[in-house]
Structure formats: C-alpha cells, structure tokens
C-alpha cells in the first residue's frame, strides 16, 4: 500500500519519505496496482457471504463465523484435527514455538510435546519419518518451512510416499500413506528472492500418488486442509505465504471439509475461461474487472484448488462454453501446470477454440530479488492476454 501523499500549504504535492521501493507501484499505474484484499470479491467480507457457500455442510452454515487470516485458518484446522483424532501429530522445524509463519501457535501447549514437536533440520529425515508413522496408522502433518526447501525430501515424496500404496498392491487399503499431509508455504511475497519464493507444484504433479492442493483463502484453506487430513491419499498442501496475513475473511467456526480434486468456478462468464490457483487469482480478478469494463466482455474465473489430479471436466466444460482459455500461475511457464492444462484443453476442445490457449506465468528464469515484480504474472500481462484472445 502506498503511503498517503502529503500536501504542503501552498498546494503542491510531495511524496512521503518512507516508500518501500520493493512493494510499491509506479505512480501513474492503472492496472498494476496492488490487490486491495479488504475489497476483493474473492474474499468473504461478511458473515452472510461466507455462510452462503453451498459447499459447506449444514452444521457450518447454521453456525457463526469469525474474521481470520490464512495462518489462523490453518491453525484452526490443525487444532481441530489434533483435538478430535488422537492419531494426528504435527512436526517440522520450529513448529513448537508457533512456527515461522505462526501456523502452529499454541498447539504444543494445548496438545503436548508428544503430538506437536520440533524435528532436527532435515527435510528428508522428517518426511521419511512421516512415511513410517503414516504406515503405522498415525496422521502426520509434516511442515516444510518453505517450499523452496522441500527438495531434500523429494526422494521420500516421489519414490516412497507416492508409491507406497502401489507397492502394497492387494494390501494397499491397510498400508498406505493416506492421512499424511505435507504442508509448505509457497509463492512470492515480493522480497523472497531466489529461495523464499518458489512454487514447485508442477514437480509434484508429474509423478502420481499425491494430491496437490493450493487454497486461495482462509475459508478454503480450513476446509481443504481438513479434507486432506481425511483423505485416503497423501496430500501436499501448498499455502500461499503472502496470503498468511494479507487474506482476511469470515470463516465458519464449525469444522467442515471442502472437496478435493474439484475446481471451483468463482465467477461465471461466457467469453473467456481463466484458470488459476493461489495468489494469482487475485491478480486475475483485478485484470478481469478492468477488462470487462474496457472491452465489454464477460470472463469466467476458475480456481483449480486441487492442482493434481485436477478437475478436467470442469475446465473443459467451461472452455466448451467460452472457446477461449488462459492459464495463470506464478511458477515458470516451461513444463508448468499451465502446460498440462493447455495440452488437455487443446486436445479436447480443439475445434471449439477461438484462440490458442494462453499461458501467463513466470518467465523462464529465476526470481531475482530486484526483479520480482517483472517475473510474477501481473495485472498487465493477464489483461493483455485477455485482449489477445478476444482479438485473435
């Protein structure tokens, strides 16, 4: 947010001295202005709006809400699981004091050191530990401190956890990694640079076995995480870290699950389908608002929610309606999730398409600190691709 401009008595204008140069927009910008999370239609600013969600069970819809942010929503979901299921345990680096993003605040004091604890600094160790514990019937929530640091655990994820059910064959229903959730903060914050910014979801979407989930908001996060903990398949739960504090909305106080492997249509439209997940959805919404006004079009916005296995029918139905598709994600365009969506869309909707499927994604480079706002898809790029498909 820009600091307010100061006015001198003579009427001329000076800018405040404390601009954060890495988090502000050029003064004449109309499109590339930061998302106002307090006003975005993607969050529930009233209790009524939150409780109107048709995916909620009656118990939740008849209950109350509280206004919480993303880390508090994650905290609530984990607390509920720890409270109601003695098999749930939570561990990772620094979770005992509350976690570097506060997702585990007060959980060790409420549930004890046997169920909520710090592990030594070893992602491969702690994810391997989670696999062993899951196979003995526990429900381990393994926290990776940043998605950028998940790579030492890649072998345990891809070669072990993802293949355990398959190896067990006819005994798979007794021995599998269902109930295991690996959580990690993901995505750009504006100053995370090379190693606090990455979004590796496409890497986990290649070897099957895990369900890869990315919530866009506190209400979504609580329900999707509770669903993940009940899933018979292991889940990788990627939490957009910039939203931990920025996204605040009304969230039902009662526990509830939201469906995995199901996308959600956030906004109906008839001319273009925009597919995204996580933080870029807010960017897409800003671009849609400007484009619908400037071009007089009507745009459908879909949140994948589960990145893999993804809800192909929902996206294909939408594109059959609109004939135009844009996929938006932060991570690099090359071999990213957008490539999978685009290939599937062109394969099944080829004759219906009015324009080639567009991918608005990170450039094929790394997220250098000084250049983050050029790398992460911004409103201009989404707006411009809307223009491209309309005029094709």
């Amino acid at each position: 947010m820009l600091r307010p401009l100061l006015r001198c008595p003579s009427g001329s204008v000076t800018t405040s001295l404390l601009r954060r140069s890495y988090a502000s927009a050029p003064s004449k910008a109309r499109l590339n202005i930061p998302t106002d999370y307090g006003k975005t239609p993607l969050l529930h600013h009233t209790s009524k709006s939150a409780l109107a969600n048709q995916e909620l069970p009656e118990t939740a819809r008849n209950g109350t809400t509280s206004r919480i942010n993303l880390f508090q929503a994650v905290n609530q979901a984990m607390a509920h699981s720890l409270r109601t299921d003695p098999r749930t345990i939570l561990f990772g680096e620094d979770v005992a004091f509350g976690g570097v993003f506060r997702c585990s605040m007060n959980l060790q004091s409420e549930f004890g050191e046997d169920r909520v604890f710090n592990t030594p600094l070893s992602e491969q160790g702690l994810v391997g530990f989670a696999v062993g514990a899951a196979l003995e019937g526990l429900k381990p929530i393994a926290e990776i401190q940043f998605a950028d640091y998940v790579f030492p655990a890649f072998d345990q994820i891809v070669n072990e956890a993802a293949k355990i059910r398959y190896r067990y064959g006819s005994n798979a229903d007794q021995y599998n990694c269902g109930g295991m959730v690996i959580r990690m903060p993901t995505g750009a914050v504006g100053h995370g640079a090379l190693y606090h910014t990455q979004s590796p979801e496409s890497l986990f979407s290649h070897v099957p076995g895990f369900i890869v989930v990315e919530p866009r908001s506190p209400l979504q996060a609580k329900g999707l995480l509770l669903a993940a903990l009940e899933s018979p398949d292991p889940v990788i739960f990627m939490e957009p870290k910039i939203l931990y504090r920025a996204a605040v909305e009304h969230v039902p106080a009662e526990p509830y699950t939201l469906p995995l492997q199901k996308a959600e249509v956030l906004k109906d439209g008839k001319d273009i389908t925009i597919v995204s997940y996580g933080t870029p959805l807010y960017t897409c919404q800003n671009a849609i608002t400007a484009a619908e006004k400037d071009f007089g079009c009507s745009i459908e916005l879909i949140d994948l929610r589960t990145i893999f296995p993804w809800d192909r029918p929902a996206i294909l139905n939408s594109v059959r309606k609109t004939g135009r598709c844009i996929v938006v994600h932060e991570s690099m365009v090359n071999a990213g999730v957008g490539a999978e969506v685009a290939a599937t869309v062109q394969e099944h909707c080829f004759l219906r398409l009015e324009a080639p499927v567009q991918r608005v994604a990170g450039w094929t480079t790394h997220t250098g600190l000084a250049f983050e706002k050029y790398n992460i898809p911004d409103v201009v790029r989404v707006y411009d691709s809307i223009k491209t498909v309309l005029e094709y």
């Binding site: 604890f117 491969q124 514990a133 019937g137 072990e160 064959g169 005994n171």
Partner: protein, 395 residues
Amino acid sequence: MEFLNPKTLPPISTFQIMNNDGIIEDESQASLDVRDEQVIEWYKNMVFVQILDTIMSEAQRQGRVSFYMVSAGEEGIMVGSAAALGPGDIITCQYRETGVFKQRGFTLKDFMSQLMGTRYDPGKGRNMPVHYSGRLKTGVHAVASTLGTQIPHATGAAYALKMEDREIGTSSPRVAVAYFGDGAASEGDFHGALNLAAVRDCPVIFICRNNGFAISTPTSEQYRGDGIASRAVGYGIETLRVDGTDIFAVYQATKEARRRALEDGGRPILLELMSYRISHHSTSDDSFAYRSLDEVHPWKSRSNPIALLKKWLEQKSLWNDDLEKEIRAQIRRDILSELKSAEKEKKPPLSSIFDDVYAEYSEEQESQRQELKRLMLKYPEEYDAEDYEGGIAAL
C-alpha cells in the same frame, strides 16, 4: 587446543561368541534361552536361503526370471537378528534380507509368487524380484530399490509404536528395525533418521549389514571413519559391532539391542554386523570384474555363517551328514517344484496397471484405462493379454 584425531582412537571392537571352529569358548556368553530345536530351525532357514539363492540365480541365467539377488555370507545376519525380534516388531529393509522374511514366516509360495510375479503376489507383480511385500504376514515393509529411504521410515514407525503401546499400556512393547548396507549408510536419509531417532527417543534398532561392498565400491572408498558403528556415537546413540558370521553373537546382540531400545521410554540403538558379500551384487553384476577369486574363497569355504553353525551343531551331535543331505535334497525339490508351478501361473490382472496409485482412480486415469483397452481390443494380436489373470476383460 587439542584437536580430536579419530585416527588416534582405537577401532570399535567386534563382539563374537563362537570361534572359527564353531566352538563357544566362554559358555557364559551362550544364548541360554535358545533351545536346540530353535537352533536347528535357524540352520534349516539359512540352508533354505542358500539353496533358494542358488536355484534362482541359475533360473535367471536360464531366462526364467528377470533378476535376482543372492545373500551368500549374510544368512547368519538375517536369520540370527530376525530370530531375536518380537512378533509385533515392524521392520524396514533394503533387498538382501531374504533370511529375515524366512525366519519371520514367509513361505516358499510367498517368495516364489513375488519372484515370478504371479497373481498370488500381494505386490501385484509391480516390483522387481526380491522386492518382497510382507507387511501383513511378517511385519516387514514392502521393499523399494531406493537405498536408505527405509531408514527414517523405521524412525517414524518406532515413534508411532511407542505412542500406541503407551496408550494401551501393553506389557509387550514393540520396536521398529531398519536393515541397510554399508553403502546405504552414506545416504542423507541415514543421517536424518538417526538424528531424529535420537532427539525423539524412538525405540528403533538400526542394523547395518556391513558386507564390504556397494556393488563394486569397497568400504575403503565408501567411508574414512571407523565403519558405521562409529557414526552412532556422533548422534548420541549406543552401538555394538558384531561378527555377522557368528549367528549366536548376532542373536545375542539383537536381543540386547531390543532390550535397550525399549528401556526408559525408548531410544535408538545401532548394530553393525560385519560380514562379507560372497555373492555378486545381483545377477546383473560380475564381481570378478573388481575382485579376485582368492579374496572370496576363504569366506566361502570357512568364515561363513552356515559352515560355522554346522560345526557347532555337529559338535553337539545335533546334526550329521545324512541329515544334511536329506534336508538339502528336500529343500531343493520343494523349490524346484514351486518354481515350476509359479511359471505356469497367470500374472496379476491388467487392472493392476492403474490400481492403487490413488485409493480410487482419478478421472484422468479412468479415461486412460479406457484408452488402453480400446487399443488392445483394436490390435489384439499385438498384446499377450491372456498371460494375465482375466485377460483383457480384467483391465
């Protein structure tokens, strides 16, 4: 300023009960709780492994099985340690632990179903031979080829067992055990697993089979420290180095390790069982490309667990050449017969291509399954669907 130089420290000594003539010199060290019938059973199990190994590696050369791994020289490690564990203990292993499966109840049919990938294999023919899936019957996790990944699984399993046993207040608490080789101990997962086990007081026994080789890499190129046992010290873990060819030493050591692992709420223990890999790494390896026959010979003829235990049994008049001939002939007959019938069996159903990746097929998998079926029905001559149980209809 005194740097601690590990070269100045004495190497960790090796625990042994039998001497090279199969005699227990110090009877106070003998395994007092083991009956003679049990020792004979151990012997038969070791011989079984040896003969299975011989037949199956010949079978591989004849093209009857795609791959096999022999455990020659390590039969005492596998059978002796497994004999000392509890029935409810959970085990993860590498791939050279055939004797562990045998000692814990795997039948000939169980082995052969996996080796030949028949419809009786609980692993549904998905893994390479010797990657047994024995959790239900023997408490041993399904084997994976990745090295070292099984070690932190045992740490996690031990934690879960500790929590559960404490919750129900059991009088027979359990441990978890991870078997791994000297090469696998170089992997990062070894480090992560031991460190975590120590910090979280997990009742887990880490059993290293130090057989001198990781394929062609001798231990002199695998590490510079004093074997694997010395590493335990670095993690704050108690350790014992054992002569792996001495089955009594292996048994006693594992028993004591288990007792200690369950003491005071639980803690990890490391055992380093020394032996020599008499066999090639696998049927894809010719070890004489990197070592000489002369090097292997003494281990094959004298310093191997089967020869040593045979001497001990003969000295106690519990065994003789006639029994030897008889048991070997019987085991050989049984194995050959089981191999022949396994070869005639159908393979698992084609639905096993897509099953069990997830609890339910994903929508995408379902459409792929239909697509494969379409192709197989369109070009039936190009596929051998009848070799699989249920044929194409089972897809």
